[in-house]
Point group: C2
């Protein structure tokens, strides 16, 4: 299968590209490198520096004999998008190429607007190119569980069977996203669904939970093939950040009461889920949604899990509650369904103490590289705190 | 009350501005005139030429003694938006300032992308300016009934009481919009709802039906104070277009079977509805939705109504079905609720044969100004027909 991975330089896109290439797929890797510039803007950056995309694609080729075709360019450039699809002729496109951070989108107007423009217009460029060049190509799009918010009913996979005043329909599940980033994903979902209905495209929208983890089978092949691991308050996800805080002797910072519950997934399972979507494509014209996570955790409970795993390694860790910089429910019902990927064969990698221990040991070895000043949030959802200074 | 009308040069914005000024409100009229350029681009334009905005604001002042403060500029310019709010200090903002045409948004990628960028980013600029400058100002936003699509259940006003697996919640009504324009309004609705929830702004989202009509009390004051009436296949709405076709001896063109049902509203009622929303503002932090239409018609039935009204005037009119350039259901359930504006006191102006007759007589008087070549659609939802040439 020919698969073009958009955003192939990122935390998920890079191991995804290697994973598929090693499964025997022909893989193209497309990226414009802008994520690296966003990281610099907020004074962040990956824990361990990563080589430029063309370099690591070459290194991967030398180590494995598998070629990754690199396309350097921007989804906002519609001509580039068309040329890449014409040149690569993909059977499927996996679309990770979006601004992925809720806090980044909440810095100020400029960042909110840039996030929605980048994500929505980039995806529009892609949808029109698919329509005109390869309408049977399967679009696998990364969405987020955060599109749903925290309704007081079970969250189904994309659609809800509604009975209302004696009539029935299957309707898109109502969305209550919690940041301009999450909103951009909701906008994308509506645009993609329209393109499938109107033009007969086919797409799988993967509403992914919070991803954690550092290594996959592929990143372990060579130290130069690691993925970009983020732990800062803007681009790091909560469990990754807790593990870093634990190993540098900082308190684990829980926003508010920590009663927020979210779906979580191991980075290795992300790769397996996307592969399952690719191997079992939707029919032409179909828009389908899979909820891509394996477990639900409360944030405060997760802090305790990390604390306990650190104690096993002889490391004493404090937990500190701080005023929540986000506007979100800290006590809410949460029972999202995640059945369809399991039905396709996913065997979840659950969060074990062994897994936490191995993450903590790895991070302990790299503790000197951590920028402590990037761990505490300086973006407030209410807009009262100025944007972080550019470094 | 101080009311700033965004898009005050348009079909609805202009009579709205005059209406409120004559009710004693202090009215600011903001527009960048881009709609006039879009009309030229597709070879269209209003049936009767309209003077530039500053000129007609002056004429209105001379005739009525009521001043309209004109702000010429673009919502895409965030600095301009902030300055206008700072200068005018509105109690309420009425937001008509969007690209308003579904066919225009479906011309090609460039137009789809420009529509979503213009509407979504313009509204984001406005939301941040409201947050920072006047967070208690009431935002009255024009949405569309087309946000809902045609579900197989009754369409409620913005929200749906859901009972699912034994639990209950009141959730945003699921959206199934039918063009990139309608999608842009759905994106706006999600962004505005988020701003109300997160920043405590307050907003009324008016999901308006298809508007028809030529005159209001205010446009009749002086021939120079008329509103921009459109009948072409891009910017004209269906009933206005049928009336023009009838009076120039063209067949009324019904897309497909004409079984499409939509909510309709007289332009005079638009003014009354917006006023009702203004006089009864939501509480701080509230996001509410009113369905703003008064009657449901099937398109084919509407053609027959126009045919009969023309016959009364001694004009024989044919009805012609043509291949539907849109992708939409031509046979569907449609029962949208429209209760909240009536509860606030709206007395609907229903479509009477007298009203149709007066529209037809007016258009008969101006039949020589009609550009016949702009009546047939040349934008196809499937993308197979090229964009109309620039004139």
């Amino acid at each position: 299968m020919r698969v073009l991975v958009l955003g192939g330089d990122g935390y998920l896109g890079w191991p995804m590209s290697m994973y598929l290439a090693l499964k025997g797929d022909d893989v193209g890797v497309l990226d414009n490198g802008i994520k690296r510039r966003w990281e610099k803007e907020i004074g962040g950056g990956p824990l361990i520096p990563i080589p430029p995309l063309p370099d690591r694609a070459r290194m991967f080729g030398r180590r494995t004999g598998r070629r990754l075709s690199v396309y350097e360019g921007d989804l906002l450039n519609a001509v580039f998008v068309r040329r890449a699809l014409e040149d690569f002729s993909p059977d499927a496109v996996v679309h990770f190429a979006e601004q992925p951070s809720a806090p980044y989108s909440m810095i100020d107007l400029e960042h909110a607007s840039a996030t929605q423009h980048n994500n929505v217009v980039g995806t529009l460029n892609l949808l029109f190119a698919l329509r005109d060049i390869c309408p049977s190509t399967h679009l696998v799009k990364l969405g987020t569980m955060g599109e749903y918010g925290t309704p007081n009913i079970d969250i189904e996979e994309g659609f809800l069977e509604v009975e209302h005043k004696g009539r029935k329909d299957r309707l898109p599940f109502p969305k209550q996203p919690g940041s301009f980033y999450h909103l951009s994903k909701v906008h994308d979902s509506h645009n993609i669904q329209f393109a499938c209905r109107t033009w007969g495209l086919r797409s799988t929208d993967l509403n992914q939970g919070v991803v954690y983890g550092i290594q996959t089978e592929e990143t372990l092949i060579d130290p130069n093939l690691g993925t970009s691991f983020h732990y800062d308050a803007v681009f790091g996800t909560v469990l990754n950040r807790f593990c870093v805080q634990a190993m540098i002797g900082e308190a684990l910072t829980v926003y508010g009461t920590g009663g927020q519950h979210r779906g979580f997934i191991n980075i290795r399972d992300t790769l397996k889920c996307v592969e399952l979507a690719l191997r079992h494509p939707p029919t032409q014209g179909e828009y389908r949604v899979f909820n891509q996570f394996t477990e639900v955790f409360g944030v405060a409970d997760l802090a305790i899990r990390v604390q306990e795993a650190a104690r096993e390694l002889g490391v004493a860790v404090r937990i500190r509650s701080m005023e929540n910089p986000r506007v979100e429910s800290e006590k809410h019902y949460y029972n999202p369904v995640h059945r369809r990927l399991e039905e396709l064969g996913l065997k979840p990698t659950l969060l074990s103490d062994e897994l936490l221990g191995s993450m903590l040991r790895f991070l302990g070895d790299h503790r000197d590289s951590v920028k402590r000043e990037r761990l505490d949030p300086d973006v407030n959802w209410r807009g009262s705190i100025p944007a972080p200074a550019t470094t």
